[in-house]
């Protein structure tokens, strides 16, 4: 069997699951600046599944992240964990992309850069939007089947994949054809930690926009171009792709390619309508239970 070509789509997200007091502003809105940016948790499960498949079947694990330049951090983390290579899909003209426009850009990236892919993997959903839409929409744009909520790959053989996936009231063992897109749940596996050797190597990885600032650390190179060549040879250069690199139509990405519009954002604030105070005494409790009975709540 030919080795597997796998593409893992990952996202850098604000850590919405660990909000602290400082993460909320006085007016109750979210203070994005105070939130740590992290590797979307279920995308780590997707990466782990790909690395695991590589161990079983051989092949390559390519990682793509669409986002602002800061997303290069999650790409480096993917390299620390064992990804073969990582790419940043970033262009100002992608700003404002909803799930449909995002899936179009991701599809263009996959088909222009890895036309012979076998499996695209991504997390079930991202913790900032919780939509779980980009996976299925990317599969549709790629014209391939999708398996969502995947927990385990049982077998890949003769162009077919057998996997166990979660459904609403249980699980299913399903079989479909390659190429396929999988969305992976957090119950699938325990992502491996950074590998020390890889951390030492890849923490020096850099993207094009890093180069001018890095020249002082590499006095042997006079120009950013020379440094780029050096890093490339060492496998430490993270390519950044813009709209032209993936041959995307500008009408399909960014605001133009996004049918949804945010009309209004409200911070959740407490209604503060006041509650009836129950004294923690025998009488207080008895009175309270009597009221519940009286209004037929209990």
């Amino acid at each position: 069997m030919k080795e597997l070509s796998m593409v893992v789509l990952v996202k850098q997200v604000p850590d919405t699951q660990n909000l602290t007091g400082e993460a909320m502003k006085e007016d109750g809105t979210v203070n994005r600046a105070a939130l740590p940016a992290i590797f979307n948790p279920e995308d780590l499960n997707a990466l782990e599944m790909a690395l695991d498949l590589r161990e079983t079947y051989g092949g390559a694990v390519h990682v793509i992240s669409m986002g602002p330049p800061s997303a290069v951090e999650v790409l480096k983390e993917a390299l620390y964990r064992g990804a073969d290579d990582a790419y940043l899909l970033s262009d100002r003209r992608f700003a404002g992309s909803d799930t449909l426009a995002t899936s179009f850009a991701l599809k263009q990236a996959v088909t222009t850069k890895f036309p012979d892919f076998d499996i695209v993997l991504c997390g079930r959903q991202a913790i900032d939007g919780d939509t779980a839409q980009v996976g299925p929409q990317t599969a549709e744009k790629l014209g391939i089947p999708q398996l969502t909520y995947v927990e385990r790959i049982e077998e890949i053989k003769d162009g077919m994949i057998k996997a166990r996936k979660l459904i609403d009231n249980g699980s299913e063992l399903v079989e479909t054809t390659l190429p396929v897109l999988l969305t992976v749940t957090d119950s699938a596996n325990e992502p491996r930690p950074y590998l020390a050797k890889r951390l030492l190597k890849y923490r020096k990885a850099a993207c094009g926009f890093d180069l001018p600032g890095l020249l002082s650390k590499y006095p042997q190179f006079k120009t950013a171009e020379a440094l780029r060549e050096h890093l490339k040879q060492k496998g430490l250069f993270i390519e950044m792709w813009g709209m032209e690199d993936i041959q995307a139509d500008k009408e399909e990405v960014g605001f133009a390619g996004s049918p949804t519009t945010v009309k209004m954002i409200e911070s959740i604030s407490l209604t503060g309508k006041g509650f009836k105070k129950v004294e923690p005494t025998d009488d207080g409790i008895a009175q309270f239970v009597a009221e519940l009975i009286e209004d037929h709540t209990w």
């Binding site: 919405t16 449909l100 399903v174 479909t176 509650f275 207080g284 209990w298």
Partner: protein
């Protein structure tokens, strides 16, 4: 743009899923406001039998897409059938459950039709939208959902594409009243999927019965991190037993290992709307509140008077739950004997 309002009526294990019925209640409101018909859509091999239930819960019309090869759910085939149906009849709104299946199917269809889709809505309304360039869109669908881990509520609109589509969270819309004997039109659709073989085959299914029925519970007693330990959760169980209630928990209690995730109420757990919700030792994070703030009566027991849970409570008991809960149990037991 005066198309119908559609509800994708999910069925599985040969039964109609609750979520489809829930969607009809909101769908009815939207259809009445728009002055159009409310329609259910059934896709499968033997599904016309579910039609009457959809009529009795508010549908005016039911589209039936039956074919022997549609017996088992297959994303690619179902997406093709429903996309073709939408193209043929041009509804203005299509609603899906935010279930595993709805969230598998709806994005695929949105991508095919190149229309917007809002995930996991907790409310839907009809209203006007003025774009920054001044263009006014009248009577469009407001798709309202929590985002950013439940810290904000966003209202999303899709002014220029049709249909307007959304998945709707389970358990947030009330089940509509049954109108016994109400009927409507059945529209049987011819299905052309001859050239579509089985894309994904289901080899085996395992049904896991949910032992914890939070959604159906009329009373829920929930414990949080403040309960302190797995052992101390017996207090929560005792109060629940005395009241005839189900046991819930906050994410913090689940993460701490006090109780299994099946009991979790909130954004990443189950959304509930019981008659009575008693929150014990739960501070009330936005994520938790998003999953229970529609409860008819909320009682908070917490020794921290500043806990956010008091902000949405109807009754508040500021005190140590280890003292308050036994007092409650004793009082309830006394009344039972009476």
């Amino acid at each position: 743009m005066n198309g119908e309002v559609w509800v994708f009526a999910e069925h599985d294990w040969d039964t109609l899923q609750e979520i489809g019925i829930e969607l009809l209640s909101k769908g009815r409101e939207l259809a009445d406001e728009l002055g159009v018909a409310l329609c259910g859509v059934l896709i499968g091999s033997d599904v016309e039998k579910h039609g009457p239930a959809l009529f009795e819960h508010g549908a005016d019309r039911v589209y039936v897409c039956e074919h022997k090869s549609l017996g088992a759910y297959d994303t690619v085939k179902y997406a093709k059938v429903l996309t073709d149906l939408i193209k043929k009849h041009s509804p203005q709104v299509v609603l899906y459950g935010a279930s595993a299946r709805g969230r598998d199917l709806a994005p695929r269809i949105a991508s095919k039709l190149k229309v917007g889709l809002t995930a996991d809505c907790t409310d839907l309304q009809i209203g006007d939208f003025k774009r920054p360039d001044g263009t006014l869109f009248q009577k469009i669908l407001y798709q309202i959902r929590p985002a950013f881990g439940g810290n904000i509520i966003a209202t999303i609109v899709t002014p220029t594409t049709r249909p307007q589509m959304a998945t709707v969270r389970e358990g947030v819309m009330p089940t509509p009243p049954v109108q016994h004997g109400k009927t409507g039109d059945i529209v049987r659709e011819a299905i052309e999927i001859a050239n579509l073989g089985n894309v994904t085959r289901i080899l085996q299914r395992e049904k896991k019965e949910r032992k914890v029925n939070l959604k159906g519970a009329r009373i829920i007693v929930s414990g949080g991190y403040g309960v302190g330990s797995r052992e101390n959760f017996s207090l929560i169980y005792s109060l629940a037993a005395a009241l005839g209630a189900e046991v819930g928990a906050s994410r913090a209690a689940v993460d701490a290992g006090f109780i299994i995730k099946d009991h979790q109420v909130g954004q990443t757990g189950t959304t509930v709307r019981p008659k009575l919700y008693i929150a014990c030792g739960i501070s009330g994070s936005v994520q938790h509140r998003a999953g229970m703030d529609q409860s008819a009566k909320i009682v908070a027991i917490n020794n921290d008077p500043e806990a956010p849970i008091f902000g949405i409570a109807h009754y508040g008991i500021i005190g140590d739950l280890n003292v308050v809960i036994p007092m409650l149990i004793e009082d309830i037991k006394k009344r039972r004997v009476d």
